[in-house]
């Protein structure tokens, strides 16, 4: 089991290394290869009327005149041992992990990501719980009552949910539930530690909208898995032994179905933690996704790079957690290791 964990950790670290290198080259190497000069790159970080002095200062601070390998090495050094940045007359140390410095808004990228993490985390956790419980529950009931009106309606709604993007359902929800009918308040983020009720009520609508999109997939997946499992011989045996139907369904039917569900959940949560771009954009939540969108709009490369790496870390970590949870959910995996 220890070997399994170490192997998974090693693979995760290797993957992150590759993602870092590829992302860095895309953002800093490719524009140069396409013919952009260092002055043109630097001009993106200064104001509307850049002077030669401003451009020169930016080139120096971003190491844009250095070979790409040196720039990448400086970036890696920043992540592992930190970096120094000059703020006017002061030199300030950006301690590790230093993901770079945004010259658009004069802030450290890692600090800004950490500041926005609670928003994205709250969004992901609330929505994740809703879509997992809701999706699985609907899937189970649909499988048991296959062909019933509930099954048909639930699968129809699930199809609608998966077909409608957030910028459609989100805007509709805002237009009707918030602005026209005033049933729900504007989406907002209040720290859980400050006011749990405001935290939940402010995020309620984004949770529901995000969960609606994802739950559909879980409902359909669970239903399909359950239908397959409930036809197995061991289910018939369980029933023949006189077990209660609830035990048969939940313990013997649902459990094997959960393994693929867990895999998808790990990926989805990782993706949402890396930035629920559309949801945060539609509901004006200042999370990591919105931070990335603004950075893209302003070509703020250090931020785009930082958020990309952060997103990759979440996906790798969530996948790792899922891999480690498999043995708990499915005894067959435990036996194999």
């Amino acid at each position: 089991m220890l070997t399994y964990i170490l192997r998974r950790l090693g693979a995760g670290a290797l993957l992150l290394g590759i993602v870092t290198m590829v992302t860095f080259v895309i953002f800093y190497g490719v524009p140069r290869m396409a013919g952009q000069t260092v002055e043109q790159l630097a001009a993106m970080y200064v104001g509307r009327a850049p002077t030669p002095a401003a451009i020169e200062a930016t080139i120096e601070r971003l190491n844009l005149d250095q070979p790409i390998a040196v720039q990448f090495w400086e970036f890696l050094k920043g992540i592992f041992i930190g970096a120094d940045y000059q703020y006017g007359r002061d030199i300030v140390h950006c301690s590790a992990p230093c993901f770079g410095y945004s010259f658009q808004n004069n802030t450290e990228v890692f600090g800004e990501i950490v500041k926005r993490l609670p928003v994205t985390f709250s969004l992901a956790i609330g929505a994740g719980v809703l879509w997992l419980i809701g999706g699985v529950a609907v899937g189970v009931v649909s499988a048991i009552k296959k062909g019933s009106i509930f099954d048909r309606v639930a699968m129809g709604v699930a199809l609608a949910g998966v077909s409608m993007p957030i910028f459609f359902t989100g805007l509709l929800a805002l237009a009707f539930l918030v602005h026209s009918w005033k049933i729900l308040p504007n989406a907002s983020y209040t720290p859980f530690t400050e006011n749990p009720v405001a935290w939940a009520s402010g995020l309620f609508l984004p949770w529901v909208v995000l969960a609606f999109l994802h739950a559909a997939q879980y409902a359909r997946q669970t239903r399909a898995g359950m239908l397959e499992t409930m036809g197995e011989d061991y289910i018939r045996t369980a029933r023949a032994k006189g077990l209660k139907e609830r035990t048969v369904v939940l313990k013997h039917g649902l459990r094997p179905t959960l393994t693929p569900i867990l895999t998808i959940f790990g990926l989805d949560i990782g993706l949402v933690l890396g930035g629920a771009v559309l949801t945060e954009q539609v509901f004006s939540l200042n999370g990591i996704g919105r931070y990335a969108v603004n950075a893209i709009a302003y070509k703020d490369l250090p931020v785009v790079l930082g958020v990309t790496l952060f997103g990759a870390i979440f996906i790798v970590v969530c996948n790792l957690l899922v891999d480690l949870l498999y043995p708990l959910v499915d005894p067959r995996v435990r036996a194999a290791h």
Partner: protein, 583 residues
């Protein structure tokens, strides 16, 4: 039994959550009451006047400040808003109508005094001015503020007019050279006097002194780019906590501010909040619902809300439709189309009516027949050298001009426009259709907006190589005079290899000389007459096809008090606003 009880608890919790969500407070007005004004009243009058203090004035914006540091900003709304915490030497008068573009003293005791043919300017500061920490504001702090923002290249987001105008060549900026005595172009003979020495005469120097870069910064408080996090206030409000880029900025009253010294600011609200990065549709909805007081960007509601409001009779009284100060126009490149008669043919053939419709009709802008927006001194609003019936173009005159330039059957040329700027593209399409009526065939080329002025239309080599004879652009002045508006886009000496905004590449000696004459002319009326003359030459030479004087559609919620439009900032004057919101 136990499980059932848990189920009820869960149901109760969910219900409580839903009820608490449903019961969310709107705050502020409801947006359904009587309108406190009439359509467009705020453009020229104070709407909902009030001297009631208190409450929280709520701003939101889709974007963010370029910086809250007054020495590192170029956005119009940042300049307007920064006056809450950063007083400048002079500023625009806080009165509605034409007076709103007049300059009045702020930190200065009286208006700057020119001498030596406007090459030297002396400014006296008011006595007893203090920062939020109770220390005195002295002349050297203003000198330092100008030094940090114009020299050394560290604070690069703002303009560098001082660096261009002051008689100073070798100074490296305070971050490299901490001896301020080496910055010799500004003298501070005492704590309340500043003497600016310019390279050449410049009669419009007070407009430069109006920039937030003249807000005082004591050297010991300056931490470079990070100064934006918490600016030391000289105005009626100070930062309440740090500025968080992309998230928020809150202001609260600065008890050290002396209202007696400041006739500009009403300082009505107790607190000011700014939400950053809010979706534009969300901002517009909240304005209409009374859940927000001002859209900080100041340019008006987004396209979705515009469509709703224009057709809603009940909302007209909440709307203002003032000029944004911008001209939307098409450069007619003098290198690609060197013959003036060919350029004039384009002017005659253009269907101004359809071009206006491309900008959203009368709500989007007024048809422009000259270069300078009507509110600028010297603008002759009756001047129209290319008249036509119903503004649809004079095709006979256009054909005559084509014959005159030897292109009787028309010619081919490309139109450049910015990608993603729907109105620019629509303008290009309308122009394409207009010109095809006289045989001028055009092809529309769109380029990334962010590189438009550096790599494409702003690069004369690229323009020539790609036959970009017509270039769609918009322009808003740094300050509301003919010089502030026209110099960069029409003076031949403004043509640059990259980042060129004189995209017509118009280089006319007479015009260049008139600009030189204007900066030596101290009398306002005489200067305005020079600008009128420049405008007429540009139109006769057909260097620019004016399209519309752009207008915004601003929503003025009923909870907002003391509202009027400032021609100087081309948005509501933020210094007079109050609110009935007590949230």
């Amino acid at each position: 039994m136990k499980k059932r009880a848990l189920g009820f608890i869960a149901l109760g919790a969910a219900s409580a959550l839903l009820l608490s969500a449903c019961g969310g407070s709107d705050g502020g007005g409801t947006g359904s009451g009587d309108a406190p004004g009439e359509f467009n009243q705020g453009a020229t009058e104070v709407v909902n006047p009030s001297d009631a203090t208190g409450g929280t004035l709520r701003y939101a914006i889709n974007d963010d400040f370029d910086s809250t540091d007054p020495g590192n900003t170029y956005y119009g709304f940042s300049w307007n808003f920064s006056r809450y915490y950063a007083r400048t030497l002079v500023t625009y008068k806080t009165e509605p109508g034409a007076a709103s573009s007049e300059i009045v003293p702020d930190l200065a005791e009286e208006m700057p005094e020119p001498s030596d043919e406007a090459k030297t300017w002396t400014v006296k500061l008011k006595q007893g001015l203090k920062y939020e920490d109770g220390t005195d504001i002295v002349a050297e702090d203003i000198k330092y503020a100008i030094a940090r923002s114009n020299y050394g290249g560290q604070l690069s987001k703002g303009p560098e007019f001082f660096a261009q105008l002051l008689d100073e060549d070798d100074y490296k900026g305070p971050y490299e050279d901490d001896d301020l005595d080496n910055f010799t172009a500004i003298e501070t003979p005492d704590d309340h006097t500043l003497v600016f020495k310019l390279k050449e005469s410049f009669s419009e120097f007070p407009y430069v002194l109006l920039q937030p870069q003249t807000a005082p910064v004591p050297a010991e408080a300056d931490n470079g780019e990070q100064y934006q996090t918490s600016v030391l206030s000289s105005g009626p409000y100070k930062f309440d906590g740090d500025y968080e880029p992309g998230v928020k900025l809150n202001l609260t009253r600065n008890e050290e501010w002396d209202a007696e010294s400041d006739p500009i600011r009403t300082a009505l609200p107790d607190n000011i909040t700014v939400e950053l990065g809010v979706d534009q549709d969300e901002i517009d909805q909240r304005l209409v619902n009374g859940q927000l007081d001002v859209d900080l960007a100041g340019v008006g509601v987004g396209p979705a809300m515009k469509g709703q409001l224009v057709g809603d009779e009940s909302k007209q009284a909440f709307l203002d439709n003032p000029p944004s100060g911008a001209l939307r126009y098409v450069n007619i490149n003098n290198t690609v189309i060197p013959d003036v008669a060919c350029r004039q043919a384009i002017m005659y053939a253009a269907n101004r009516d359809s071009l206006q419709r491309a900008w959203g009709g009368a709500i989007g802008g007024d048809i422009a027949t000259q270069l300078m927006p009507p509110q600028l001194p010297g603008a002759d609003n009756d001047y129209d050298p290319y008249p036509s019936e119903d503004n649809t173009g004079d095709l006979d005159a256009a054909k005559e001009k084509l014959k005159e330039c030897g292109e009787e059957d028309g010619f081919s040329v490309n139109i450049a426009a910015r990608e993603g700027r729907d109105n620019d593209i629509a303008t290009a399409e309308a122009l394409q259709e207009s010109l095809s009526r006289v045989g001028i065939e055009t092809s529309i080329k769109s380029y990334p907006a962010s590189d438009f002025a550096t790599q494409y239309a702003g690069s004369p080599d690229y323009v020539k190589d790609n036959d970009l004879g017509l270039i769609v652009l918009g322009w808003i002045p740094d300050w509301p005079t003919g010089y502030g508006f026209m110099k960069s886009i029409i003076d031949g000496r403004s043509i640059k290899d990259s980042g060129n905004y004189n995209m017509a590449e118009f280089d006319n000696k007479e015009v260049n000389d008139l600009f030189d004459e204007s900066v030596e002319t101290v009398d306002d009326d005489e200067r305005a007459a020079i600008y009128t003359e420049i405008d007429k030459i540009v139109m006769e030479e057909a260097a620019v096809l004016p399209v519309v004087f752009d207008k915004g559609l601003l929503y003025r919620p009923e909870n907002l008090t003391n509202v009027h439009f400032s021609n100087g900032f081309a948005m509501y004057d933020y210094m007079t606003l109050g609110t009935t919101n007590t949230e």
